[in-house]
Every structure is written in C-alpha cells, then in structure tokens.
Symmetry: C2
Subunit: 338 residues, 2 copies
C-alpha cells in the first residue's frame, strides 16, 4: 500500500531543512523561550496543553521562514522573534481548532489535545493562543505587519469554513480545491514570509517577492501533504494514511481520480467519500485507482509547479545564505514524498 | 419557582437602555451596515450564521458603550463605528465558541448556531469573525486601541479556560468566581468603554474612568445574569432557567448557598453539581436553598456594589447626555432582576 513515484530529485543529494535550521538556530532558541513565556498562565490547563503541542515536535517551518526572511534584509532587532512566535501561535491555534473540527485522534504520531483534554479545552486554549499572538504583534507595533497577519487569520478561517462546506462534495473542481488550500495553508506561509521584509524596511518589491514565495511554498506543501495521506505510514508522518479518505475530504488526488474515472469508479468514489467511514479495503481500492490514473504523480507535479513559482519569486533578490536555505526548503517540502 | 426580591429601585421609574439607544441610533445604523458587510463572504455558511446571530436580537450593549464613550469626548470621525463593530464581532465569536463549550441549545430564545449548523461551523465562523474584528482594529490604526482589545481577547479566553478548569468544583471561592467573571465578561465591557477616549484623544484619567466603568458594569452585568439563571423564564431571558445548574456551573448563588449551608445541604450540592444532569426537582430544591440563605438577594447586592463603583468612576467627567445614559445602563443592568 505504497506510492511508487519516479522522482528526478532522487538522483540529487536529499534536500534538507537543515541550512534553514542552522541559520535560525540562535533566534529559534529565543522563539522557544518566548513560546513558553507567552503560553504561560496561572490557569494550569493552558501551559499543560501548550507544552504538549510544543513537545510534539513540529518542524516549526513557519517561524523559521519569518526569521530567515528578516535576516536576509539585515534585520537587527527583536521584533522578528516576536512575530515568528506570533506566527507559530496562530498555527498552533489553527491546529487545535482543526483537530476539533476533524475529530482527529493523532497528530505527528501523538494523541491530539482534544483526545487528552477534550474539545472544550482545545477550542478555548486555541482562542487564548490567538489572543496572545495578536498581543505580540501589537507589541511589535508595525501596522503593516498587523495588517498582513490579521488578514491571514481571517482568510485562514474563511478557508476552513469553505473546506467544511465543500466536505464530501465530489463536484469540487481543482480550482475550488486550490482556493481552499490557498486560504487555509498558503495564507499563513505567505504572511510568515512577508513580515520579514516589512519589519526590515524592505521595499514593496521585497515584500511581494517574499509574499509570493510563501504563498507558492504553502501550496506546494499542502499538495504534498495531501498526496502523502495516500502513502507512507503513521510513524513517518504523524498522520494515519487514509485519514483524509475516512473523513471524506475531497483533496486533489480524489478530485483527479474522480474526474478521470469510469462511471463505475465514480460510483465507488460516491459511496466511499459521501458515506464516509470507509473500510481498509475501500482505502486500498482508492489508492489503486489513484495510481492507475496517475493522480498522486500529478498531485506531486502540481506541487512542483508551485515550487518553481516560489523559486522564481526569490530569484531577483541578492544572493544570501538565507536565500539558498529558503530555496532548499522548497525541494525539501516536495521531496517528502520519497 | 420565582425569585422574590425587595428592590429599592422598584419605586423609581424603570431604568432603561433607551437613552443610550437614542444617542447611538445613527451610529448603530452604521455599525449594523458594517456588521453585514464584514460578515459577508462567498462562503455562504459565513453570512448564514452571521445573519442568524445578528437577527437573534441581542441588545448590542457593548458596541453602544463604545459609541457613547467616543461621543462623550466629542469624537467626530468614523473609527468609533469600526471599533464598535469589532467589539461586537469579538463578543459574537465568544458566544459561538461558548455555546460549543457549554453544549447550549438555546440562546435568547433561539436555537444556537451549533444546533443548526453544528459545532464545527460554530468554531470556524467564530475564528473568522475574530479575524475580521482584528482587521477592523488594524484599519483604525490606533496601537493603543489594538493593545486594549487584543489584551481583552487573550484575557477573555484565559477566563473561559479557568471557568472550564473550575467547573463543578464546589471549593470555588467568591474571589475565584469574581476573577473568572472579571476575565470572561468584564474585560470586554472594559475594553469597549476604554477605546472611546483612546480614539478621541482623551487623557489618561479619561481612559481610566471609562475602563473602570466598563469593568464594574461588566461585573454587575454578569452577577445579575448568574442570579437570573435561578429565576425568570426562557422567553424573558432567552436562556432556560437552571441552565447553569444543569451544567454544574459554580456561580455565586451556588458558592454562597454551599458555604452557608448545613452539612446535609452540602451533600445535596455535591450530588447536584458534581454529578450534573440534575432533575427539575433538584433545581427546585436548589432555588429553595438559595432563597433560604439569601444567596440570590446577596448576589444582587454584590452587583449593586460594583454598579456603585461604575457610577463613581464616571462621576468626575463633565456632564453630558452620554454620561447620563451610561449611568442609566448601570441601573438597567441591575433592574433586570425585576
């Protein structure tokens, strides 16, 4: 039950997030301190849940992007650390609420907060982290950064509602799907990147370059995530293969397979997606159909397309270690399918 | 199953929110337009749920306070309308999330959004409205107003988590209870009032006066709300009598009755509050015990105490129709027990 892909990248040395981690290590240590401090509260449940999320080991890609995007314009103050922390809090709040909405049991191989502490605490602690994120942004005092990040917050939520409305709807087009992932995932990557030049006094062109990089990296990232849901294992991904399928989520691999399928196959998809609660046999059949129509391979091809746009967005900027690291993040995101 | 109170106020003409409504009518028409515009989205579920909330007829006390608090300092621009709308959105988002957390079926006599559209939509549309609230605040461009409102957002959520942690805990003291309602209710009233002088260029003293007015009005408001949960009827209140009791919420009437009760009565409270799902007979007994210990009367007395502080907070400000209207709101909030 795996996905076989022919990847050109397999010949190159593996792309890695390590250059980005190395460049941002000192700043990320300060981000981690600030996370612990701002997730602190006399209300014990708040640090308990926050620590659970902190220790469940996400890659912290979004705050690292904010830090690198400030560094590459020579930023010398403290505000990039605050904004990176705010970005991570926004992301964490979204995860807490998403897990409630999706009724998820596992994330990155750990039990979700809602399983341990309940939906109620997950909703409210998410709200608290979002409130703390806004306080940090206000503390930075840049109205432009506030504008970009508050707009992202509204757009993300709008995308999530859209996804909920379109759930289990096999008439979803590829355009619909792209609009949803642009809102729910790419908007935060975009804002995380754009606030770098904003606080560093970057030009309009610099802002546009980082914004475009973030948006397209986010699209590529989500496309690969959605491809991975039909391959890999829970221990690799911290996600159970087939989660999206069992929840009736109409992601691109499903959109393509449904559209390319025979009438009989479409009946299968209708039963599986619209009725939900599909069996392991149904999941195996779904993956077989996807492979027969090249739906996974083409989802990865779409991700490469957006990765290329992200690369070209950064191209005019002057050379720097940060720029190279951000390039490599694109390849890293895409090479996760290996 | 009613509450009999001897109220001094009953001799005066009934206090009303009407003077505040009259003074803010023109501005509130603009707030209502802005609500409809900012709750708009191509994602149909968002305006659907927003319209449901708008039409379910809250008094809109909080935005009216923001408007009056700006008017009394001679504010002449548009920003008070934006901030009043942001305040109402923050409140609405909190209601959406609260109803999910409390599993409420009715609010103001209408079915809650979660009953009609589900918990998932309520969580996500709440997040969207909060995001839109922040965008409007950013649009106003006052970092002081942003500071006050974003702090309120974090404090409200922290108070809600605290309430959740302390749920069904009969060891809750009156101080604990006050700290919770100060966070979950008074913080937004306080911020709603304080942003008035902030955008009108009011002095530090003006800000402190309105902040204190809002905080203490909010405390009085919540105390009366919690008293009303043990009297009145769903059609008057839009709340079912005994909702708090059935949810095991330890509000002040319970705190006082438990502390003042006999050992046998405490056993009753433990069974009723800690086990939840109490019967109508249990609710009748609870109300009888509250009346025998003066727990409702004293909850109202506590509300009057905070009402008096709210009144004195405004006292040094120069006379105005707005000031008189805000005074009358205090009496209105407290006289709701009639």
């Amino acid at each position: 039950m795996g996905v076989v892909l022919s990847l050109d990248e397999s010949k190159k040395p593996a792309a890695s997030v390590k250059p980005l981690m190395d460049l941002t290590a000192a700043d990320m240590a300060r981000v981690n301190e600030l996370i612990l401090s701002k997730a602190g509260s006399d209300v014990e449940l708040i640090p308990e849940i926050s620590n659970h999320l902190v220790s469940s080991g996400g890659k912290r890609l979004r705050p690292m992007i904010t830090l690198a995007a400030a560094q590459m314009f020579g930023y010398g103050g403290d505000n990039h650390v605050k904004l990176a922390t705010a970005v991570e809090f926004m992301h964490t709040a979204t995860l807490l609420h998403d897990d409630v909405v999706d009724e998820s049991g596992l994330r990155r191989g750990h039990k979700t907060a809602r399983v341990i502490w309940g939906n109620q605490a997950s909703v409210l602690v998410g709200d608290f982290l979002l409130g703390q994120a806004f306080r940090m942004m206000v503390d930075v005092g840049s109205l432009d950064a506030l504008d970009v990040l508050s707009t992202a917050a509204a757009v993300i939520a709008e995308g999530e509602v859209w996804q909920l409305s379109a759930a289990q709807d096999l008439e979803t087009t590829e355009d619909d799907y792209l609009a949803v992932i642009k809102a729910k995932t790419a908007a935060l990557f975009s804002a995380a990147a754009e606030v770098g030049p904003i606080i560093s006094g970057g030009s309009k062109t610099d802002r546009a370059a980082l914004r475009s990089y973030g948006t397209n990296l986010g699209l590529a990232f989500q496309l690969i995530d959605d491809a991975l849901d039909y391959g890999g294992s829970a221990s690799d991904l911290g996600k159970n293969t087939g989660d999206d399928f069992r929840e009736g989520k109409v992601t691109l691999p499903v959109v393509l397979s449904y559209r390319r399928g025979t009438a009989k196959e479409r009946e299968f998809w209708k039963g599986a997606i619209e009725d939900g609660g599909s069996s392991d046999e149904a999941l195996e059949r779904a993956i077989a159909l996807m492979n027969s129509h090249g739906a996974i391979t083409d989802t990865v091809a779409r991700a490469r397309h957006f990765g290329d746009i992200a690369r070209d967005a950064l191209a005019p900027l002057k050379p720097s270690a940060q720029k190279d690291a951000l390039y490599e993040v694109i390849d890293f995101c895409i090479s996760r399918v290996n």
